[in-house]
Symmetry: C2
Subunit: 665 residues, 2 copies
């Protein structure tokens, strides 16, 4: 049962797809007004666990920290960060006596104090929001009800479940061809190569640098012959330069965000002075989405949207203040003496509230200050593209994922989990984010494998890959100085085999993904959700159930030779060195220390479950899904639902789900 | 057996206390010249483990990362950091076929590539160094031999093993008295309150702000009546201001580091323009050390030395370059257009090689560019103080610890492990640093409990305290906005009891500390060292043996209800809620999942070992060491050596170690 309560005058985020009449009266929260906001309080019991919030720091159980929904471009993802690139305002309290979910649907900042100020009190602070309250018996039930409210999750084309290589630093066609050749020469699978901002003409969206990429269409076609797709990046901001058609046209039509005087608001991003398309305005959104055509006409079938928090290096207001400060210091000869002021001017420049409070959007006939709808920008930018895709070809799935998002965007694309680093802690964080994202509808997700920032190491690359082969979006992306394409490492055979395992798992992973999307279920489930009566399972934060048949437990510590694994029930350990080379061993319920070599993947087959396994393949197109092996842990026939669509079809996917009965060993 | 090899013209660091004749010929390393440096290569076997490096990031086993000895003031301690506040150039390779230790005794930068570039190769790069090579049968044997080379570790007065509270933000006498009163009112133990830089008159070393602290002598005396000692900070840099006697005198005597023209080199630290005492020059060092007198005459018996990497916010050279850049931009109207240059000027200012290469020291009649001896600065600053203490009272121990250090300094003082953060990862890092520091002679160490930077939480404070009660230096220190004195939290009883446990453990911890110092042994030992034949023990990175009788295994994950513990042999689990409230349970060899509540401490008594336990106390002075309880896990009488000195005596401490025979249960 879902109830909706309204506070103030919330913007219509279009996160929900079901209209729910407004309720009045007492919610589960105590409510008090505080500086124009509402503080929603809830006294937690000692054993209550708190889940949700999607892409956020810390554990699967969110208790014990404070989180702020405020989409932020800042890549130093340490434990005490409170805001990341996205806002996913769905939270669940799961307790012995009471369990509920709450979605604070709000375009501006929301603060979730989950036992930070007082270990026993949850306080959510928001203004102008719709609060959806979901009562339920179990975490899985509450999630499924919530997912019904927010609509079916995005399903990408099947080829997007392959492995993709990315690097901010591939500068030209030659670099791209080299990557493809090296993967091929090392006999390693590859389905995608990503283009970062360097493919553009001076960082201008929807342009191609003709010197670096003289014939993108031919390059894309050549790659596609090898079953490799090129996936270009699109940034949120549009370079402010007369003569650049996207800018000129947007200016003419008035489609950019404006300052109080009604002039386009200037922000600084990669192309320096830029403007932001007002994607909340349907006409502007349609126009911005239609720009993707330029690249699609060259044969492009997928994109990633970036810098759409929106991340800004400076804005009109903050830059004016900084320049003024510095010029005054120089004029009065105080540059050295008061250098701290220069430092302040520099440090306060990016992502400043001075700027976020100084420009405006049009939505539903109303003008909104950006700060009120800040968290919706990435969502609507991605929606712009998705609506164009739908218009261009309503029967075909395209790849789309974004850095910034808000609940609702999960219907239009996936997300990657932002600019992480080559830290072992971020491997574990990757694991912990997965179920939290699933709760919020974001099924097509993954982290930059090996780490995006900072230099990686071969062991970290292998251990992270052993998790990455299970994540729907599987991409190696980096900006570090040390190369990390999987072919650069010493133990090439290990990387080749692990990459191959991904493809062997695809019949299972794809089927589980599609079913989870269509049925509003979670693909990655905490043990606490699957085994709610098991006290030990409730605290396990480094193992996950993936789909209906398996549990994963990756190694995430350097120099570890293995790890502890808790089995809530008897399971079959699968130890895999390659998609066609593995051992099986039944282990009893309880704790186990399991050795795992760097070139191995382990996972666990649950009791009375089966999973299909294909031969390793070099890309999704060449995957042999006819000749499947079945991993089984059952003494009786089991029915498995496998999804066998063509990988592109968009409508009525349910009809491609076949029920297969698998006999016992 | 220790051999010494010389490369280039090394500075005499005085790290070693034994003269070893120079050897010639082949070492265990392959050696090649590379840009004026020597690269020492060693092909590691797959199972070789690498230890040492003292205060550094990552695991106890250092394999798989690159580390640079270059003392650095930068508080963002993430996994990919390569340099922290100290340089501890001792490294050990422990393998099945060969084990050895190597000390690269060198004042400048040393790089340790421990399987980072190639997973199987160790490469150390240095120039102008003495290389001491120690062959041995076991890790513990190699460490003990090395510790013999570098001399006996510093032993502080016994009161310094109590608990101390610190905060960068106690502004005046009232703040200090409030802290003392609050601890007393909450019935929580306290032995020290630390004074951070705000006690000084405008950040001038060896001065007191008379407005904030009108009578420091009386304050110190009042506190001492309560058995609380005040521990002021001393910074490395001396404010450059005429009329400030320390500056005037140092200038007159020529005791500050000079630029190429022979003028005092200006660096910016807390007091703005400052100069650095040339502590490498014996006359200047003696002079600087004698300055501590000013505070000792007020009744001060201990200090902490800070900013002695030396950390500099700017220097003559870097600031001149920055100002020039900015003024040129302003003059040409390019402030906004080329704001990236302003940013560069700001970001490159602190701790710049421009500055470290531009000033000079005098040592042993030779002039050294700072960059050649950079890593020795903190060591010699602390030595300055220690030599003055010795001169002032050769029979009394004073408290001294430093942020920056180098091997050799362990004879003169302890270290705290720098500006950590309120991250769970730093709790575990605290644990991992302990044995590495012990290998390098630094026994009196500890981390800022709860975390120095960033806001802590009550559960982190409790879990960290449960480790902190075992660390010789036990201090809660912070600069975060959220108060973290232990009396501010909700569950005061838990904090009171855990603090009390520290005092109950003191007869054991102090005895083990003194014995470790006198005998050149480790206080904190990895399981791999104590159980070298146990393959599982070799990989355990989150448990430590502390002294001869116990093993610790703290909980370091948020929301965990317990943890896995590996017992290399049968042990007795001690579960403590207070120093006089505990249970005992014998557990068999192997893996165990052990529940640990937030208000509990667990540790493990080893087989055939005993440990003394006192009643909880409110400070070291009131500890009743006559009436001890003995925790025992033995079926026969065991002899334990307990140290019972007066807590101050400095010479011949060995004579206070009593052999006590304890009967079995």
């Amino acid at each position: 049962m879902i109830k909706r309560y309204r506070y103030g005058a919330p913007v219509n985020t279009e996160a929900a797809v079901i209209q729910i009449a407004e309720s009045k009266g007492q919610t589960v929260f105590s409510e008090r007004e505080c500086e124009g906001k509402t503080a929603f309080g809830y006294e937690m019991e000692k054993e209550d666990r708190v889940y949700g919030l999607g892409e956020q720091m810390r554990g699967i159980n969110k208790r014990g920290w404070i989180y702020e929904s405020w989409n932020t471009d800042d890549p130093i993802l340490t434990e005490t960060r409170v805001s990341l690139y996205t806002s996913h305002n769905f939270i669940m309290v799961i307790g012995k006596n009471r369990s509920f979910g709450a979605f604070f649907d709000c375009g501006g900042k929301v603060v979730f104090d989950v036992g930070y100020t007082d270990p026993d009190v949850l306080t959510v602070t928001a203004r102008d929001c719709n609060l959806y309250l979901i009562e339920g018996e179990s975490a899985l039930e509450i999630v499924q009800e919530f997912r019904g409210l927010i609509g079916t999750s995005y399903i990408p084309p099947k080829w997007a479940f392959g492995f993709g290589q990315s690097h901010w630093g591939y500068l030209n066609e030659g670099d791209i061809r080299t990557v493809a050749e090296n993967y091929k020469a090392c006999d390693m699978p590859l389905d995608m190569i990503y283009l970062d901002i360097d493919y553009m003409e001076r960082f201008q969206d929807f342009t191609v640098d003709k010197k670096a990429f003289p014939d993108l269409k031919k390059l894309a076609a050549d790659m596609k012959k090898e079953n490799i797709r090129l996936i270009p990046i699109i940034d949120a901001a549009v370079k402010a330069e007369k003569g650049y058609s996207v800018y000129d046209e947007g200016i003419e039509k008035g489609y950019f965000c404006k300052n109080q005087k009604g002039e386009p608001y200037i922000v600084g991003v990669w192309p320096q002075d830029s403007v932001l398309p007002d994607v909340l305005n349907p006409a502007a959104r349609k126009w911005f989405g239609s720009q993707y055509k330029v690249l699609m006409d060259e044969g492009i079938e997928g994109f990633w949207n970036d810098m759409n928090e929106p991340g800004i290096f400076y804005g009109e207001e903050s830059m004016a203040a900084a320049v003024k400060t510095i010029e005054a210091l120089v004029a009065s000869g105080r540059t050295k003496k008061d250098f701290a002021e220069v430092q302040g001017a520099v440090f306060n420049l990016p992502n400043s509230m001075l700027d976020y409070g100084a420009f405006y959007h049009e939505k539903d006939g109303k003008r909104y200050c950006h700060a009120e709808v800040h968290n919706l920008f990435g969502y609507y930018m991605t929606r712009a593209a998705a609506e164009y895709f739908e218009e261009r070809d309503p029967d075909k799935r395209f790849l789309m994922f974004s850095r910034s998002s808000y609940i609702g965007m999960h219907r239009y694309g996936g997300i990657w989990t932002g600019d992480n680093a080559a830290w072992w802690a971020h491997l574990l964080l990757n694991l912990k984010m997965l179920p939290s994202l699933d709760m919020c509808g974001f099924l097509f997700t993954g982290a930059d494998l090996c780490g995006f920032g900072q230099n990686t190491t071969e062991d970290l690359a292998l251990r992270w890959l052993a998790l990455g082969i299970f994540t729907p979006l599987m991409r190696n992306h980096y900006n570090a100085s040390r190369p990390q394409e999987y072919y650069v490492f010493k133990n090439k055979e290990a990387f080749r085999n692990l990459l191959g395992i991904r493809y062997s798992l695809l019949p299972y992973l794809y089927s589980e993904f599609v079913k989870s999307a269509l049925r509003g279920q979670m693909l990655f489930k905490p043990l606490a959700f699957e085994y709610p009566q098991d006290g030990r399972a409730q605290t396990v934060e480094d193992q996950l159930c993936v789909g209906e048949s398996i549990m994963i437990a990756p190694v995430y510590e350097q120099n570890a030779k293995g790890r502890y694994v808790y089995l809530p029930e008897e399971m079959k350990l699968i130890r895999m060195r390659a998609g066609d080379r593995y051992t099986q061993e039944v282990l009893p319920q309880g704790s186990h220390y399991i050795e795992v070599a760097l070139d191995e993947v382990i996972f666990f087959l649950r009791k009375n479950r089966v999973m299909p396994l294909a031969r390793p393949a070099k890309n999704v197109a060449s995957l042999d899904e006819k000749n499947l092996t079945w991993l089984k842990f059952t003494d009786r026939p089991v029915t498995y639902e496998i999804c066998r669509d063509d990988g592109f079809v968009k409508k009525n996917l349910e009809r491609y789900i076949e029920r297969v009965t698998v006999n016992s060993d």
